[in-house]
Assembly symmetry: C2
Homo-oligomer: 463 residues x 2
């Protein structure tokens, strides 16, 4: 990218201080925390962190950053995984966690509007007594603005879709400091270019999202969850394919490999059979979930799966899914002192078993510990790699594996990232996946909407 | 828009003729047919029509049009409704109907790739023996490229989504003649800007779609369809809201008003009670559809609806939905010699009854015939207006009504178009809906991706 006017940072900090007072911080610890995520992505602190309270404040800050040509980087809960919010060129981190109001819930329309800093758990707590919920669940208690910005998804996406399908509209501050509302509240529209979907997944590089309109769902009358071990990854993947082909509206269907099961058993004090295992959940009426579990049980049995353990009581379900959600911490606890390398490929499900098996063989051949967990209804799986960055030889093996994994997935008509995003971490693979024409198109869009390149520079397509 | 180099049209026609031979036509009848749709939108013929057979031919034609700065306009089946394919600045109409091959069907992944000229009925015929179907059904047997370009939807969208949700990826020719493939086959991805969704609904103004990757679904084991009269539009809308809130996965839920029922009875020789009526359809297992119809029946009864007529045999269902799909022709046959003015507003369903009732009152107050039909699960409804364009007084009343209808819907947080698109017909309302900031963003995107303004100029955002 071309050089930004870094010498103007002092001026912009002074001007923002005049607006925010002590809600602008230049404390080293605050800057560090806003410049480094949980993963291997190299960190870089912003020059200052602005704790904003309103769209108007964001607007004023972006206008100042535009004037001084200073980078401005949106920050939610800091749970993203590809170096999305690092500040390689310095600038202002806009922390939206203080914008945490649920602005409206339209129960009849099954939609809500929230400030960008509202987290998914906070929203669901707010909704519970209305009998409604927001299904997208990336594991972390991320902010809904951040989830929109990274096109997040998670365990429920197989049934409810991703943020792509569940964002109704966005309020966002553009690079010139203007505010756009990308759509009204109609469930569908053919009125011009899909600005909502353009900003969903744009990772703060085209605009800073300040409010999110979301689709909601009625809390199902009945939820049935269970775990089922399989004799092989192949058999588990076949069960997934048949379930989806039959149209069984499975709400969650997650694959964990033997390594993860071992880690769960140790970390969460549970006692699962060490085998490739599917965690499943069905939502519906009492009769509906009974039928779904019966159909799925028959598929699993035919493929040699079982015995099945069902959890119908809420506390049992919660414990089961908590174990699944703690996957990262469970494996991390087995690898003290090592850094985690998140991976996130997604392939067509017909290629899933093949992709997982080749990946497991690659891990074994390179003597790497890489437990696998996947949102397999969508063909999305994560190999969590642990590495001691100081160990140059290990680092080289990890990086080689990482590169092969992504190229393998793309060669199988998949993607380098099913739900984490490009950030700074996967920029090198964007052209492998989209070709030079696709990346050129993205660059043209970035150039058109952020000609001064102030919005989260150095991410997705660095100008 | 700035003047295009119209004098170069003869040269570009000559150059394309050298590629296509007699598949390039300048016959007046062919040009007329490619310059005027079924609606009131003023027609304008292109200078020539290119009947293409491959992406490469489209690429060569667009490259020539770019060189000569000549408009180039995609044409599918000519069933769009907002003057999308008229050629107000002349140029080349690219007729994609000859690109009619289903290129691949991946049954395990529930996806397919088709050339842009394949129609939805042709695809479903191709899929039938595989037990799969493509659900999006705008009524007309439109091409899938055209449906993607207009972000079409129709009767099944309440359950299966619109083209926005069901296009997996697109192959498209850009304004510079390059070919982009917007995504691979993974069901989800967070890899960069959502080029797929940017082109879906872009109406040929950002690229010409030549291939479409689509999501498929298993043909349901059981389909139950029925019609149910209601005492009022209010009661019918309440039934829709309760159905959706309860999470009953209704596949189709269509409102027709008394005027339409009268027209159906006359045109389709059926005998429905003249009342606001819901046409519904449920998809699932035998037990599932039985449960769904029972739940819906109870809701309807509580709201004074009924008696219900169910059609479980395929031929009865087909006849029922054929009547629904013939709505346009049924009402047109009552208004011989008049032109149809299509409308297409969509509002949050909580506002639907209010919007329909105000609209009916407006029709009555202005002595206009405007039967109403709606995809009410999405809040989308059509008032079909008939008008004798030569009757200046009638035309004025129709235009006044049309303008109020759209502003009413937008004021209720809805959209000017739920599924037809902007084309040339609704450009005047784009800023009312999206504000100057939204329209400016769209213009910046158009300018960046089509700097010479050759792709379907004069539509959506005319530069």
């Amino acid at each position: 990218m071309r050089a930004l006017k870094k010498n103007s940072v002092t001026q912009v900090i002074g001007d923002i201080k005049a607006i925010l007072g002590d809600r602008l911080s230049t404390a080293p610890a605050v800057r560090e925390q806003h410049g480094k995520d949980q993963t291997w992505a190299p960190g870089a602190p912003p020059d200052a962190v602005a704790f904003v309270k309103s769209t108007e404040e964001v607007q004023r800050i972006v206008a100042l950053c535009a004037h001084y040509e200073t980078p401005v980087i949106a920050y939610g809960t800091g749970t993203s995984l590809e170096g999305h919010f690092t500040a390689p060129y310095g600038g202002i981190s806009v922390d939206l966690s203080g914008m945490n109001q649920v602005l409206e819930v339209n129960a009849e329309d099954l939609d809500a509007r929230v400030e960008a800093g509202v987290t998914r758990k906070a929203l669901n707590t707010h909704l519970r007594d209305k009998g409604l919920f927001f299904p997208i669940d990336p594991g972390a208690d991320a902010s809904l603005g951040g989830m929109a910005a990274t096109r997040a998804s998670g365990t429920n996406a197989v049934r409810y879709g991703t943020m792509r399908e569940n964002v109704l509209n966005l309020t966002a501050v553009l690079a010139n400091g203007e505010v756009v509302k990308t759509a009204k509240r109609a469930k569908k529209s053919s009125a011009g270019y899909d600005l909502t979907r353009l900003l969903v997944g744009s990772e703060g590089t085209l605009a800073i999202i300040t409010e999110v309109g979301l689709r909601l769902y009625g809390i199902p009358e009945s939820i049935a969850a269970g775990v089922c071990p399989f004799p092989s990854v192949d058999a588990a993947c076949q069960a997934v394919i048949q379930t989806i082909q039959l149209g069984i509206p499975v709400a969650r269907i997650e694959l964990v490999d033997e390594e993860h099961v071992k880690a769960f058993n140790a970390y969460s004090k549970i006692d699962l059979k060490v085998a490739p295992t599917l965690f499943v959940e069905f939502h519906g009426t009492e009769a509906g979930t009974a039928e779904q579990t019966g159909l799925f049980g028959a598929i699993a049995e035919e493929l040699g799966g079982g015995p099945f353990s069902w959890a119908t009581k809420e506390e049992d379900r919660q414990r089961l899914w908590q174990a699944r959600h703690d996957a990262f911490w469970a494996t991390k606890s087995l690898m003290p002192g090592k850094e985690a390398f998140a991976t996130d490929v997604c392939v067509p499900i017909s290629r899933l078993a093949e992709c997982v098996k080749e990946t497991q063989a690659d891990l074994a051949a390179n003597n790497l510990y890489g437990p696998i967990v996947g949102h397999v209804g969508d063909g999305n799986f994560h190999v969590v790699l642990y590495c001691d960055r100081a160990d140059a030889e290990e680092l080289k093996r990890v990086k080689g594996f990482y590169d092969r994994l992504i190229r393998r997935a793309i060669a199988m008509e998949g993607t380098s990232t099913g739900e984490h995003g490009i950030g700074s971490g996967k920029m090198g693979f964007l052209e492998v996946e989209h070709g030079p024409e696709g990346v050129a198109m993205m660059r043209q869009i970035k150039q058109a909407l952020d000609p001064k390149n102030i919005l989260n520079p150095g991410k997705i397509v660095a100008l």
